[in-house]
Symmetry: C2
Subunit: 349 residues, 2 copies
Amino acid sequence: MVNTPSLTVGIVGATGAVGQELVRLLHERNFPMTSLRLFASARSAGKTVERNGKSYTIEEAKPGVFAGVDLAFFAAGGSVTRALAKDAVAAGCLVIDKSSALRMEPNVPLVIPEINPEKLRRHEGIIANPNCSTAVMLMGLWPLHQAFGLKRIIVSTYQSVSGTGAEAVRELEAQVQAHVKGLPLEKKVYPYQIAFNCIPHIDSFDATGYTGEETKMAQESRKIMGLPNLRVSATTVRVPVVRAHSISVSAEFERPVNLEKARAAIAAFPGAELVDDVANKKYPTPLDFAEKVKCGVGRLRIDTAWDNGLSFWVSGDNLWKGAALNAVQNAELMAREGLLGKAALAGRA
Amino acid sequence: MVNTPSLTVGIVGATGAVGQELVRLLHERNFPMTSLRLFASARSAGKTVERNGKSYTIEEAKPGVFAGVDLAFFAAGGSVTRALAKDAVAAGCLVIDKSSALRMEPNVPLVIPEINPEKLRRHEGIIANPNCSTAVMLMGLWPLHQAFGLKRIIVSTYQSVSGTGAEAVRELEAQVQAHVKGLPLEKKVYPYQIAFNCIPHIDSFDATGYTGEETKMAQESRKIMGLPNLRVSATTVRVPVVRAHSISVSAEFERPVNLEKARAAIAAFPGAELVDDVANKKYPTPLDFAEKVKCGVGRLRIDTAWDNGLSFWVSGDNLWKGAALNAVQNAELMAREGLLGKAALAGRA
């Protein structure tokens, strides 16, 4: 790390599924911080938690707490971001937000560091991170776009319950336990049983019949890749998988495609691991890509429905590349480029 | 039923997953048969089984056993069909085949009775039934084609383990039991763990990187709907669901689409049940469409990736409409139209 100032880092929503991964990744990846403060709702405030061999007292996330915090990861949902992000920015804190609240704001960069890192240089104190399915999908799509020029994508997702949160992981586990014990299966988080089922419904429906998750995949893909005219159709589906999302992607390109070049582009892309040897039954599965930094891309083939088309399958950790890891990677890149700390923030464009 | 002759019916592969559903459906739907004979491999021959209150002795499926059988359902896989179907036809028996062995033969009709029933009138002793995913998908696609004229489809499947067979149902159950008990999860049927996982691999891979299942969905859709130029791209995926397949479909049409007409077409189609009220969280799930005669179609919406496009989600029982039920429905229609029995077969074109 060059020019790294003394950094106090905060995590808002530190007790949630993504917040816990943030604490873990900041430690495991040796993020250059001098101190770490954990914030959560009033309900958790005052509790002491052990994380990576250190003891932390949870502080209540509320206006005024960000004085002295240089960088705050927000992982507590859109309403907390809307309530507190501006307060944090006013206190001179850089906010790296995981929620969907501000992603599409024109003055908020939405960044995947392997794709549009230059956007980290021009911000107003808030950096947004993409939706989990979008981030995982783009680990396969972006290198193919660079090779052939994207025109249109049709995608279907296979999303794990940890994307909903820790309570949904418990619901799937409880349903499976009840099934084995011959007890009735209870549901609370999802409108239908998720064990042994698929639910084509993630986020709420709008008047067009698309869900918020589907619309996010379209809008965020366009913003991150800088392709405002990209046509996207997504169907997002919850499946009984604990961790890691998968996406089946069919993409039409501007230029003629070929498999050799496509595989080389995937293999050379830092965010992807090419797992594509079907003769030996090698392709990614969500189980294999839980708690992996890279997303697995495989089943690459010439798409039979288009003239210049490719299909592929990608699996990646929704809590890591889909959430906490991407946020940490954004912060790491900003640290490497001297974009963190009070001096850098005060002097920004 | 009119002109129904005395009918002796046989089931080849009677002890398998589809065979058992055939026995059940023939009884429950009061198929006009005077006697039923059950055939299986030498290993099962001689065993006595109780089915629907009657006792049957399993006979070995081998050349020569079809004398006196008017109609035989073959549900024992492609190799058994290839070995025995011609022998059955030579004995004057009509074969209704569930295997994939002969589906694409030009002289073998491939029939879904709600779509191309006229093909049942012209055959050479063998009627083929479609692949499970194809049959379920077409319950949504055919009425939309009739309304707007199909041009292209991109589909991803969510297929249950019963499509692989009874041993795969046991494997998923055993893995879930082991998970709950904290024991190691063992796999034999699938190359990867299927509990809490998705496996983008059904049937074997060909040189293009598509699987046999994906190619079947394309070829069979074209043949059944009579659309030799339909462009199809399929990605077929196994999910940890016990029974009923689901398919996410994006379709491009020749003519402008509208949702009201699309919903009316689905609702009026005998093979489909429209479950499409997202404001009240109503859409099909595989759990809701296991052991249902109709396939559930929902999540209908104007597809954002095409100019004349519709997306939808369909769930249907792979062992019923995807297998045994479609075969029985073909036989029922032939019985109603006087196309069964020695006299009808002897006098056929």
